[in-house]
Symmetry: C2
Subunit: 140 residues, 2 copies
DNA sequence: CCATTATAGTTTTACATCTAACTATTGTCA
DNA sequence: TGACAATAGTTAGATGTAAAACTATAATGG
């Protein structure tokens, strides 16, 4: 029997995940950081020569939002901006030492979130969920 | 093969759904209204003697948020506040004529969203999705 | 070459939402 | 009964996010 509340469930899960991430930041005394900052740092741990535009695309936020997010990460000393030598429009975002040192923490939190998301499911159910969600997203 | 990106997918779907709802409001020339206002109105169409607290619980927003949302709905003339006779702490939210007239529009939008969410799935897949999401939410 | 167009990024402005603190009212229990 | 706790709702303040407009730079085609 279909209930029709998938949209509501998805919205609630999203809020719950964000809340959990925030509480993990809190627990580890990382202040002033929100989930989107985490998305940026996690992306930076896996890629080099990352531009603002590239970040915006990958964390699924607008360019102005990324500007603000990077402003704060820079202010906290986790990243620095670096201009491209040949194309002055482009800005690369580089991790600082301090930003790099956060890697284990963000990795732990990623693992914890994934555990919370998939921990109650069998392998097969986890795959099913992803398949259905990918399918659903493709329709928008 | 599990990808581990269910949280990201859910976040993206949520954003896409909200965007679709906003564009439907736009298309029907309903101005200044956000999805949460829609949630409130849809709830009011189905229930009577609704309090602020009850609304907050059912649309999964905080009490201050509901205060602000109702302020706007009242300002637009869609609802009115009414004090309880015996317990003066309680405020009931009532639909006005103008609010009631919006029913067909919000109903249409609800149908459209549900169609978009479930339209690409078989009955069985729709049920599976809901089951998995309910299960997932319960773990938070 | 130069004018137009495209691209990268920021600033401005607006707003939905939350937490914390507050007011007002009602309930409780010693 | 009267002090304290609980409950309903609002206000104040902060912040994440986006759209629109803007600046600056590069690419392109006549």
């Amino acid at each position: 029997m279909i209930n029709g509340d998938a949209a509501s469930l998805i919205s609630q899960i999203r809020d719950a995940v964000n809340k959990l991430i925030m509480s993990e930041f809190e627990r580890r005394h990382i202040k002033g950081i929100v989930p989107s900052h985490g998305d940026i740092l996690v992306y930076l741990y896996k890629h080099t020569n990352v531009t603002m535009k590239e970040l915006a695309e990958h964390i699924h936020r607008s360019k102005p939002t990324v500007t603000v997010l990077i402003n704060k990460l820079e202010e906290y000393g986790y990243v620095v901006r670096e201009k491209d030598g040949s194309d002055n429009r482009i800005t690369y975002i580089k991790l600082t030492q301090k930003g790099t040192e956060l890697y284990p923490i963000f990795n732990d939190i990623s693992v914890e979130i994934r555990e919370r998301m998939y921990g109650g499911f069998s392998e097969q159910e986890g795959e099913q969920l992803e398949q259905l969600l990918q399918n659903l997203l493709r329709r928008f």
